[in-house]
Symmetry: C2
Subunit: 117 residues, 2 copies
DNA sequence: TGTCTACATTCCTTTATGGGAATATAGGTA
DNA sequence: TACCTATATTCCCATAAAGGAATGTAGACA
């Protein structure tokens, strides 16, 4: 069942935080590492998990791999991402991630297209 | 993270079908068995899973155990159940479950309060 | 060509999950 | 009390998931 697969992707805290950040803008791996303060291997594996289920797409830009949500998400995914954004209000961890991400915008080595929705 | 726990409950097809039926009305175990056409042990275990995470509540009525959604669900759960109802439109399996359930209403041994929202 | 950077993958271990067969249990009824 | 019905639990097995340490790799650049 396709819907259950979406929820499988949503059911792990780190993945949930990753997806939440991606609803804001495309990002490269180092941004996730810095915003979530989690080790590289952990981030990388969860991104691979999401990639294998087609919940995120990648594009290379020089040395960086930029992750983004699919350009044409299914209706189910779109609804659930919207719901996630609403639910994220109720757990401060999501807000903290956003704050750290915002701080990164000023001093990090990002390629131009990251942060450019 | 509380939100991730909700998605853990949502991430298995049988549980998703159970929760979907429960958004319609409280039900007893035999209704799930008949509507989902799944073995008793499977239904019972998934119900136990949901119960242990407080996504469903139980009440005994004679020989039957009636399962229902919590009377005061958290905002997150409520939003996600609403989202599930919308998403369920896109997979025919949910519709079939509802149809089988509707057929049961007429010829099954239900206590009065089941089906009475 | 060699090196560096950003990221991915492999290997290993632990824990969780899911399913079925068999068995247990609680309440109702004869 | 004995039995029946509805449901729960236990035991066993197979598979998936998650995390860390170590290692591999592709592209940029000197």
């Amino acid at each position: 069942m396709k819907l259950a697969e979406i929820y499988q992707c949503f059911c792990e805290p780190t993945r949930l935080r990753i997806l939440h950040l991606l609803t804001q803008s495309p990002l490269c791996v180092c941004h996730f590492q810095d915003a979530l303060r989690e080790p590289q291997v952990k981030i990388s594996k969860h991104l691979a998990y999401l990639r294998s289920r087609r919940l995120v797409r990648t594009k290379r830009s020089g040395n960086w791999i930029i992750y983004s949500l699919p350009s044409k998400p299914s209706a189910e995914l779109e609804m659930n991402l919207k719901c996630l954004q609403d639910c994220a209000q109720s757990d401060p961890i999501f807000g903290k991630d956003l704050k750290r991400l915002a701080r990164l915008r000023s001093n990090c080595c990002e390629p131009a297209e990251v942060f450019a929705k």
